[in-house]
């Protein structure tokens, strides 16, 4: 049974509930709803117990509740070994702990669990608001810990103030640890959060897919350049290549999709690089997309770990991008490359594949062009001219039927990138020219303050590549034929009134807000660059910047000096506070005398008057009587009369006696006394 002081006062109880609430709140959207209800019910029950209206649940009831929660968890989660069930389990364990929250020990367990639950929030997202919220959680949980000590500490201002003070004092050390503590890299493969839907460019392209993206202004990529920056018309960030068409949807197809037989070179050395140097060097920071596609300019190579290169000149990540991911890329534009090898037959077949039937009008139209003896490039320019003459770029095209290419090319003639790219590749393939649809992002907004290119979801784009013998894959953007602004100035200009039409708040219409958003993005970018993506490489760079080179001597100085400063501070502090009231010289001298007497076998009793002590010494050791008398005399005169002479004499006496003691061994004098 817990002793009385271990029982929980009301304030402490409320603090625990507050800490749990703070830790749980941001998780609620992810957790099954019943957990929230279970928590609220447990809190209600515990408060009823506090009011004396109810008893804590008995053992049978507790077992039942545990069985129910386990069943509930099994019902809610199929996979056990993943982050979400773990968070749910932690949340449930402190929920259940509430039902037996009795002693200080229970409170500690509950609050330590709360720390952990609060931390799992960061696994979901590492943005600035989340970081701030996490800090607040830590503050509240620490305050709740402090509040467990007594009712004075449990006062809200006191507890929070104390917690804030502790955190503030801990911050310098935390920063130091953050910078210098080695990052080991994952010790084992961890389950990732897979709940949220995929965003960004998807695995396949069906009519309407890009409309969804055009409605989102969320950042997708942030690209900073080391050296030259590609002009706007060259900013084609390739992510996916669609080679397979089933009459309606474009897919990557077998042999191209890295997850389905496509070949990936996981280290850049495996594939021969062009002889000349790369034209662009840049770093891409990609937002979580929950798919493995990375985005880069044509013919990329990357040395970042976990990044591979496909045969069709794209970058992929070994595991899906579950959280922001940064990678370094070098790119060689196609025109800088040497003459490529001819397309092998499998590639050729794949890039000429068309459904057996359907879209007859297009096939016939292309057939007429071919019969006129036009080459690949002429057919392409005919098609582009057609787009340019007759077509309208719009974000809200009419719905298309089963022969979507026919209807688009000859009836509606209204659409946007996916329609143009799809119909173009269809037509080129029908003309016997190997062609493929490429999806990714095009363009981006230049952020001057931080010197990076901000690419948003609405920059998602689809274009085409055709194979020209002797020249290799060439990029063709049919959309540019209709709406050059789309390529040059981005979607906002091209779509005009249609841009972000359906968004709830047309924030992009307000200049100030647009600027503020850009500012906010800059802060985010900074945050990501300095904090979130701080890895062992950046750590080494930072240390190198701070220390010059990483010689053991410098490292020792760097780590040792703060420790030394702290230790010195503590030492000085304890000495200054520990001997706060310094005893007067007289008393210290007398203490020396007492110590010597103790060594000689006569200890001064607490509170014994000096005169009595001298008397006792005279009684037990007559040979010391004279000395003791003179010391006591001098002490009394110095201490109570303020006699300077006496002080000097006391000093002299003690010095003289020391010499005497050196001549007479202590144990001998002790023997004499007994």
């Amino acid at each position: 049974m817990a002793s009385n002081r271990d029982l929980m006062p009301r304030e402490s109880l409320l603090w625990i509930f507050a800490a749990q609430f703070v830790a749980l709140l941001p998780q609620l959207s992810q957790l099954p709803l019943w957990i929230a209800f279970a928590w609220a019910f447990a809190v209600y029950w515990r408060l009823e117990v506090f009011r004396g209206r109810r008893d804590l649940p008995g053992r049978a009831l507790k077992l039942l509740v545990i069985a129910l929660t386990v069943a509930g968890l099994a019902q809610s989660y199929q996979r056990w070994f993943a982050l979400e069930p773990m968070v749910a389990l932690l949340a449930l364990s402190f929920t259940l702990k509430n039902l037996e929250l009795l002693s200080r020990r229970d409170a500690f367990v509950s609050l330590l669990l709360a720390y952990f639950v609060a931390a799992t929030l960061f696994v979901r997202e590492q943005s600035i608001p989340y970081a701030l919220y996490g800090l607040i959680s830590a503050l509240v949980i620490t305050a709740a810990l402090a509040a467990q000590l007594g009712s004075f500490s449990a006062r809200p201002r006191r507890a929070l103030g104390l917690s804030l003070r502790l955190m503030a004092q801990a911050t310098p050390l935390m920063l130091l640890l953050f910078v210098v503590m080695p990052r080991l890299g994952p010790l084992w493969n961890v389950p990732q959060d897979t709940s949220a839907g995929r965003t960004g460019v998807s695995d396949s392209m069906a009519p309407g897919d890009f409309t969804r993206l055009s409605k989102s202004d969320k950042p997708a990529l942030r690209i900073s350049f080391d050296g030259p920056i590609p002009p706007p018309e060259q900013r084609y960030w390739r992510g996916l290549v669609y080679s397979e068409f089933d009459g309606r949807t474009w897919r990557q197809g077998v042999g191209v999709d890295p997850r389905n037989g496509g070949q990936v070179y996981w280290s850049s050395g495996e594939r021969a690089l062009p002889q000349i140097g790369p034209r662009f060097r840049y770093q891409v920071i990609q937002e979580a997309s929950r798919s493995p596609w990375l985005f880069a300019l044509a013919r990329p190579a990357s040395d970042s770990p976990g990044v591979g290169e496909t045969v069709d000149d794209r970058l992929v990540k070994r595991t899906p991008v579950y959280s922001r991911f940064a990678y370094e890329v070098r790119s060689w534009p196609r025109d800088s490359q040497t003459i490529p090898l001819p397309l092998n037959s499998a590639e050729r077949r794949r890039n000429l594949q068309l459904p057996a039937d359907g879209n007859q009008r297009t096939r016939e139209w292309v057939g007429r062009l071919r019969r006129r003896g036009l080459g690949a490039e002429e057919i392409s320019s005919q098609l582009l001219a057609l787009y340019n003459r007759e077509f309208t770029y719009t974000l809200s095209p009419p719905a298309l039927g089963s022969d979507s290419v026919d209807e688009f090319l000859f009836d509606s003639q209204k659409g946007f990138c996916e329609h143009f790219a799809g119909s173009y590749v269809f037509a080129m393939r029908a003309a016997g020219v190997p062609a493929r649809v490429v999806a990714g992002y095009q363009g981006g907004e230049w952020v001057n303050g931080e010197k990076y290119l901000l690419v948003r979801e609405y920059d998602a784009h689809a274009w085409a590549e055709i194979w020209l013998d002797g020249r290799g894959w060439q990029r063709v953007d049919p959309t540019a034929a209709v709406s050059p602004e789309r390529v040059r100035d981005g979607l906002e200009t091209a779509a005009g009134e249609e841009f972000m039409q359906d968004s709830l708040l047309p924030l992009h219409r307000f200049d100030v807000l647009v600027k503020l958003r850009l500012q906010w993005d800059m802060i985010n970018y900074r945050w990501y660059q300095t904090v979130v993506s701080f890895d062992s490489e950046k750590q080494r760079d930072t240390l190198q910047r701070l220390l010059g080179d990483l010689s053991p001597m410098r490292m020792a100085l760097f780590f040792g000096s703060p420790v030394a400063v702290v230790l010195l501070g503590i030492f000085l502090w304890t000495h200054l506070t520990g001997r706060g009231r310094k005893r007067p010289v007289v008393e210290r001298l007398y203490a020396v005398f007492c110590k010597r007497m103790a060594r000689a076998g006569i200890t001064r009793r607490p509170g014994e008057a000096p005169r009595d002590f001298a008397g006792r010494i005279a009684e037990r050791k007559p040979q010391l009587a004279e000395f003791a008398r003179r010391v006591t005399d001098a002490f009394e005169r110095a201490a109570y009369g303020g006699d300077k002479e006496a002080l000097m004499e006391l000093r002299r006496l003690l010095r003289w006696h020391l010499r005497l003691f050196l001549k007479v061994p202590i144990n001998k004098s002790q023997l004499a006394g007994h």
Partner: protein
């Protein structure tokens, strides 16, 4: 102040239990070390040489959580979890300073002790004060395993409190070292000091009912007691009244030319209350002392003057708090059988 220092022979009798515990070598060793490091005094200021500090079990649990968080951060390569982990570790690192500061500089003074009866609690009055401006919270002062007192020094700079020690045996009890402990601010560290405030209690024997007061059972020469008229002792003269015994006429005064007086006599059988060792023949020493103690309390309650006669000590009958204390002290300090 009720501590009496006039009984030096009792010192060995009731000395601190630890110094005698030869069976627990290490304990003795640590006590000796402590007594050198933190010597006995009635006025002690806590400083770094007297304070010890270690993490509590909750502190170890906290470390375990930081270790788990570090694993989480490492495996998910999550810098914010790293940051939180390091923040928690840093808090843990600076905590001992706060815990230490909560006790350091505190001054404890023994104000006094109260005598008690064996089987009861002996209380010491202690004053806790601080010279600086730092607030102190949640300081526990106790004789383990007793609960002791919890004291805060927040707005006020000094506090008086009492702490109790169960008194099991009569005699002069040297209290063991006091433990002054604090787990402020988060309960993750325990800072403590074991100080010897030189607390001594005089513990009277446990009162054991021994029947009614032994009134008139002891007959002793003395100057007080119940007076009966017509005894053997001359008391005074009074004017002669017819009927007075001729034997009692004061002839001497009459011969000197004064009136006829009659001498008045009283019997002086000593009926004063003596609480006598011999009255309780046949019981063992402790039982006798306990019974005597009981009688003392009864006599004091009934307002009957009483005296004490035990081997080695005789205290003449009297009444009052002073007298009671003397009598009870004599009982408390009666040498132990065989000791």
């Amino acid at each position: 102040m009720s501590v009496n220092r006039d009984f030096p022979w009792q010192a060995s009798n009731t000395g601190s239990t630890a110094s005698k515990s030869s069976r627990n070598f290490f304990r003795g060793l640590s006590e000796r070390w402590l007594s050198r490091r933190a010597p006995r005094s009635r006025d002690i200021t806590l400083n770094h040489s007297r304070l010890f500090i270690l993490p509590t079990r909750a502190g170890l649990g906290y470390l375990l959580v930081t270790a788990l968080l570090w694993l989480l951060a490492t495996n998910y390569e999550n810098n914010l979890v790293f940051a939180l982990t390091f923040l928690l570790i840093s808090v843990f690192v600076i905590l001992p300073v706060h815990t230490f500061a909560n006790l350091s500089g505190l001054r404890l003074q023994l104000i006094g002790t109260e005598d008690t009866f064996a089987g009861d609690f002996a209380e010491a009055q202690i004053n806790l004060s601080r010279a600086d401006k730092r607030q102190r919270e949640w300081i526990q002062i106790c004789w383990p395993p007793e609960e002791g007192a919890y004291v805060d020094l927040c707005e006020e700079s000094l506090a008086d409190f009492r702490i109790a020690l169960p008194a099991l045996q009569r005699g002069r009890i040297q209290a063991p070292r006091l433990r002054v402990e604090s787990r402020f601010p988060l309960g993750l560290f325990r800072c403590w000091s074991r100080i010897d405030l030189d607390v001594e209690f005089l513990v009277y024997p446990r009162p054991l009912a021994a029947g009614p007061l032994p009134l008139g059972e002891a007959m002793v020469e003395g100057t007080s007691g119940q007076v009966r008229r017509g005894g053997d002792d001359y008391a005074s003269l009074k004017p002669y009244q017819p009927g007075d015994s001729l034997r009692h006429l004061a002839w001497k005064q009459y011969a000197a030319g004064r009136d006829l007086y009659s001498k008045e006599y009283e019997s002086r059988t000593d009926t004063r209350l003596w609480l006598d060792w011999e009255l309780l023949d046949g019981r063992d020493v402790e039982a006798r002392l306990s019974n005597l103690c009981y009688w003392v309390l009864q006599a004091e309650k009934q307002n009957i003057a009483y005296g004490l006669r035990i081997p080695g000590t005789t205290l003449p009958p009297s009444l009052g708090a002073e007298h009671q204390h003397r009598v009870l002290a004599a009982l408390a300090l009666f040498p132990r059988w065989g000791g």
